[in-house]
């Protein structure tokens, strides 16, 4: 048996080790270069994001809708141009929706805020419910249910909730003909009977697929 020496081996064998490494980096670099123009970058970055934009659509006659204010902003002073709570505290905002002369929804109160927001969702869960309670969107959505008829109106009444007496912050009569599905921004001027600067009102079709409701609420 003959043991050949390493005479025939390359003089600097460790240099040849670099060849596979260079090929790995070369192909990796090549992939990055050809992919640099294509977004998104897959390296740990989120991809396949879903768009939230959509075409605005008016209400359909005879259909029922969820209606709620996702955001209400008040002017810095009340109807008498005085501070809201008599001191440094902001107003405790609450609103209610009147439809056909009836109160059809009243929101929770948001303490000390000039801009108050509501998600339109609220769940009252017990610990035990987490084990198997089924929750329907209808149960979770906290909003007025109204039906659209041509010429119909709803009234949004905004109040500063006080311990002694609730103060009116303003009220806005909104024609349903003007509403679109999704977000509707209503801007109001300060007057002697109104201290509400802005109302973001959301109209969502009742009975829509869950996925559509989620998209509209964003």
């Amino acid at each position: 048996m003959t043991d050949l020496s390493d005479f025939d081996a390359p003089k600097r064998p460790w240099l040849s080790l670099l060849i596979p490494i260079l090929v790995v980096f070369g192909f990796g670099g090549f992939y990055l270069i050809i992919n640099s123009n294509n977004t998104p970058d897959p390296i740990g970055d989120p991809t396949a994001r879903t768009g939230t934009g959509g075409i605005k659509q008016g209400l359909v006659k005879g259909q029922t809708y969820y209606l709620f204010a996702s955001e209400i902003e008040l002017y810095p002073t009340n109807l008498e141009n005085d501070p809201w709570d008599g001191g440094e505290n902001g107003p405790d905002i609450r609103y209610r929706i009147l439809w056909q002369g009836n109160k059809v929804f009243e929101s929770e109160e948001k303490d000390d805020a000039l801009i108050a927001d509501w998600s339109g969702l609220s769940l009252d869960l017990e610990w035990g419910d987490l084990m198997g309670k089924t929750i329907s969107p209808d149960e979770a959505i906290k909003a007025a249910r109204i039906r659209y008829e041509k010429g119909g109106v709803v009234e949004i009444v905004v109040e500063d909730d006080d311990l002694t007496d609730d103060d009116d912050a303003g009220r806005a009569e909104i024609e349903l003909d003007d509403l679109m599905i999704g977000k509707n921004e209503i801007k109001l001027k300060k007057t002697s009977i109104n201290a509400v600067r802005r109302i973001n009102l959301r109209a969502l079709p009742h009975g829509s697929a869950l996925k559509d409701l989620v998209e509209l609420m964003k």
């Binding site: 081996a9 080790l17 090929v23 070369g26 897959p42 740990g44 991809t47 089924t134």
Partner: protein
């Protein structure tokens, strides 16, 4: 150029692409509460695609140094080292003395064949067993990575053994 060397270079190419190409897309879900989670935290339920290199980088940035080290060791350094060693073996005369010691090393390494793929499979399995119906989808980068691992596994079979 010999067959094993072509296979080594091909495996290196697939490895380079497999490390950086999209490997895994995770779609987080929260069971029947998914739609609520989407409303409260839109980002939480969006699909996220990772490459192997990106996953290691994110683990490192999230201070999971141990996991980043283990994953980096078995999915980047180990396959590169293995392919480099195979390249060195095929660079020598088959009967030379140093080849024998290198072959011992490659025999040891062959015991860890596909360990990088096993790690990837474990990662996918972990995500798939998460509650709430979270989904893990394998992307094409994973196939490039696995092709590289299979190629590396075949190299010793193709490589010429020293003649006695």
């Amino acid at each position: 150029m010999s067959g094993p060397r072509i296979l080594i270079l091909a495996s290196c190419g697939f490895l380079g692409i497999g490390l950086l190409a999209p490997t895994l897309t995770i779609e987080p879900r929260a069971g029947q509460f998914t739609w609520l989670v989407e409303l409260w935290d839109e980002e939480a339920t969006k699909p996220v695609t990772y490459s192997i290199f990106g996953a290691i980088r994110d683990l490192y940035l999230m201070n999971n140094f141990f996991l980043a080290l283990v994953l980096g060791l078995f999915s980047i350094l180990f396959p590169i080292f293995k392919l480099s060693l195979y390249w060195l073996v095929t660079d020598r005369h088959p009967n030379s003395g140093s080849v024998r010691s290198l072959l011992k090393w490659t025999d040891r390494l062959s015991k860890f064949s596909m360990v990088e793929v096993l790690f990837l499979a474990l990662l996918i399995l972990t995500v798939k067993t998460l509650p709430g119906g979270s989904e893990a989808k394998i992307e094409w980068g994973a196939y490039a990575f696995v092709t590289s691992a299979i190629g590396a596994m075949l190299i010793p079979l193709l490589a010429e053994r020293p003649k006695k």
